[in-house]
């Protein structure tokens, strides 16, 4: 092993690279394989894992400074990006700082939407690819396995992932507070507004049993229904079919309420033991505010949802501060173990009169 080799992180993310640059830097799996081949044993990269998502391209591994520079050069050459262009967005860390960064990334603290869970799976995929591709050695195995454990700890023991922070997800969370699970809920989307469509998609992605679209313009209803894989309901039938649905999302551009309190009352009367959840995302409002006074009817408008999202965002910030303390503590502990291992490896290499005792692992 070459002396001076350490655990490192090199890359760029949404913090430093604009979208246009991230598009150029994105590494699909086939290109990662090419890069591994170029960074063969002679490159001095002992271990290497590549994390490539829509928001970041990052290399984690064990190498000395010269090998890290080589990774950068090969990467830029492969992507057709000038080294100077990459240098503007380039982030590099070594030792404990690199471990802390990987833990922050895995726990969702470095994400664009702080606390999101998807990144954890992406980091796991990157580690799995490094393992099957031969890039992961004893250091990466140890680092990633401990990082997964600590990231889970952070998600479990802090509130970084709690509380939805987008209007659509707040609506889904409220529905869960009412119905428990969504696999038996039927969603009715009124109108074809953008935010309504996003909310309907959020319900679909969380397993809503059925989605129906109704619009004052039949053609638009049909188009959107086809796009969403939903059913279309003629507008004139909407009032009498309200009771067939559990969640009604209002998103029309109508100048006045399209669901009156009387219509809501009639709907709830025919389903007395099952609540009705109105989400009014329209301006002017689609649902008569008086419907909120009805028993078993829950009505939230755009302001209500935005206020909850804001409160959740504020609460998350407090939790992120707590989580960062955990990151600092856990990464320092882990780095102590890794540093000892790297020192022992360097000592073994030195005692062997400068001859590399192990072949480089990259490739």
């Amino acid at each position: 092993m070459s002396e001076g080799a350490t655990f490192f992180m090199l890359g760029a993310s949404h913090h430093s690279a604009p979208l246009a640059l991230r598009e150029k830097l994105a590494l699909p799996p086939e290109k990662i394989a090419v890069l591994r081949a170029r960074l063969g044993p002679e490159a001095g990269v002992r271990e290497l894992a590549v994390l490539s998502t829509c928001n970041r391209v990052e290399f984690y591994g064990v190498a000395d400074a010269a090998a890290v520079t080589r990774i950068e050069a090969e990467f830029c050459a492969l992507q057709g990006v000038a080294v100077e262009e990459f240098a503007v967005a380039r982030r590099h860390a070594a030792g404990g700082a690199a471990i802390a960064h990987l833990l922050s990334v895995s726990a969702g603290l470095d994400s664009q939407l702080v606390g999101e869970n998807e990144i954890f799976g992406q980091v796991k995929d990157a580690y799995a690819a490094a393992t099957t591709g031969g890039g992961a050695g004893p250091v990466l195995h140890r680092v990633f396995q401990k990082i997964f454990q600590h990231a889970k700890h952070i998600r479990t023991h802090t509130g970084v992932s709690e509380g939805a922070v987008s209007v659509a997800n707040v609506a889904v969370e409220l529905a869960l507070n009412i119905f428990g699970k969504l696999d038996a809920t039927r969603v009715l989307l009124l109108g074809a507004g953008d935010i309504g469509e996003k909310t309907a998609k959020a319900f679909q992605s969380r397993g809503a049993a059925a989605l129906t679209v109704s619009s004052r313009t039949a053609e638009r209803a049909m188009t959107l229904a086809t796009e969403l894989g939903a059913a279309a309901l003629p507008w004139e039938l909407m009032p009498v079919r309200l009771a067939d649905h559990d969640i009604v999302v209002g998103s029309t551009a109508a100048p006045a309420a399209v669901v009156t309190a009387a219509q809501a009352a009639a709907a709830i009367r025919s389903r007395p033991s099952r609540p009705l959840f109105f989400i009014d995302l329209a301006l002017p409002r689609d649902i008569d505010p008086a419907a909120a006074d009805l028993e078993n009817v829950f009505l939230y408008n755009l302001d209500d949802l935005a206020r909850i999202a804001d409160a959740n965002r504020t609460a998350r910030e407090v939790e992120v501060a707590r989580a960062r303390l955990v990151v600092a503590d856990k990464s320092a502990q882990l780095w102590q173990q890794i540093a000892l291992r790297l020192e022992a490896d360097a000592g073994t290499a030195h005692n062997a009169s400068g001859a590399a005792t192990r072949p480089p692992l990259a490739g």
């Binding site: 009412i178 428990g180 033991s273 909850i308």
Partner: protein, 283 residues
């Protein structure tokens, strides 16, 4: 081998466990965290086990089910609630139900232990030699345990409904189960409670109908009134006439009335026939 403690000592220990569960949940809520489910199960499980020993000693001493005075009735109701939670809570995984159960069990056990008069020096022997009458009484009080749990889920329902209506869904409101889950479990508990109380009254009727002179009218009226009120509530709910929120209020108020009826049931009994068993020791 169990330590040589009196039944009341075991029951004090059980009460301490329930109180610990309540304190644990309260601390977690104050810190804005969900309490540890495992820790709550341990607290309630330990409380239940210790209370079972205490009530078992009492039962052995009086040679029957320990339902002879207000103290025993409160203890048995708390024991029933805890045992039901250990079954229902594990099945439905309802957050906060353990916390509320620990609170109720702590209150019932501590109050009954604190009021010495409720564990009278002379207790009533109510069962004679007929085991069916003993089962009748045990089922009746066990149904009160079911109604206690129903009252707790009803309170949770009202809190959840309030939070959604007033649009305050953050903080510890976020730990409450969903409206529909609470409604489902409420209806099941109501059905189970009514079924148990119906079975209990049926058993009592078989014995007492041929001997109407042995029935105290106050006891009969209060128990039938409690049973009828719960049965009507269940019927109205199943017919869809009683909205969920009013059902929750009804179940909360009815449990308060059911607890008060225990005093009427107890005071209606015949003069004491057997000595107190408050110093029953572990064998």
């Amino acid at each position: 081998m169990l330590p040589n403690l009196t039944d009341r000592h075991w029951l004090w220990l059980a009460a301490a466990c329930y109180l610990a569960g309540f304190a644990l949940g309260t601390l977690a809520l104050l810190r804005g965290r969900r309490h540890s489910r495992a820790a709550m199960l341990v607290a309630l499980g330990a409380g239940f086990a210790l209370q079972t020993i205490g009530l078992g000693l009492r039962g052995r001493a009086v040679q029957g089910c320990p339902l002879g005075n207000t103290f025993e009735l409160f203890q048995f109701t708390a024991w029933s609630s805890a045992s039901l939670f250990l079954v229902v809570g594990a099945t439905f995984r309802m957050s906060l139900l353990g916390y509320f159960t620990a609170m109720l069990a702590a209150v019932l056990t501590l109050v009954s232990l604190a009021v010495r008069d409720w564990d009278a020096a002379q207790r009533m022997h109510i069962f004679g030699t007929n085991p069916w009458i003993e089962l009748h009484a045990a089922l009746a009080v066990f149904s009160y345990g079911v109604f206690a749990l129903l009252a707790l889920t009803s309170v949770m329902f009202l809190l959840r409904n309030y939070s959604l209506k007033s649009k305050r869904v953050g903080g510890w409101f976020s730990f409450l189960p969903s409206i529909l889950d609470l409604d489902h479990i409420g209806v099941r508990l109501l059905g189970a409670g009514v079924a148990l109380l119906t079975a209990s009254l049926a058993m009592g009727a078989v014995y007492w109908l041929p001997h109407p002179e042995s029935v105290n009218i106050l006891k009969l009226l209060t128990t039938v009134a409690v049973w009828l009120a719960y049965a009507v509530a269940l019927g109205q709910r199943l017919r869809g006439v009683l909205p969920d929120r009013r059902l929750a209020w009804a179940c909360g108020v009815l449990f308060g009335a059911a607890l008060l009826s225990l005093f009427a049931v107890n005071s209606s009994r015949h003069p004491p026939l057997v000595p107190a068993a408050t110093e029953a020791h572990t064998p």
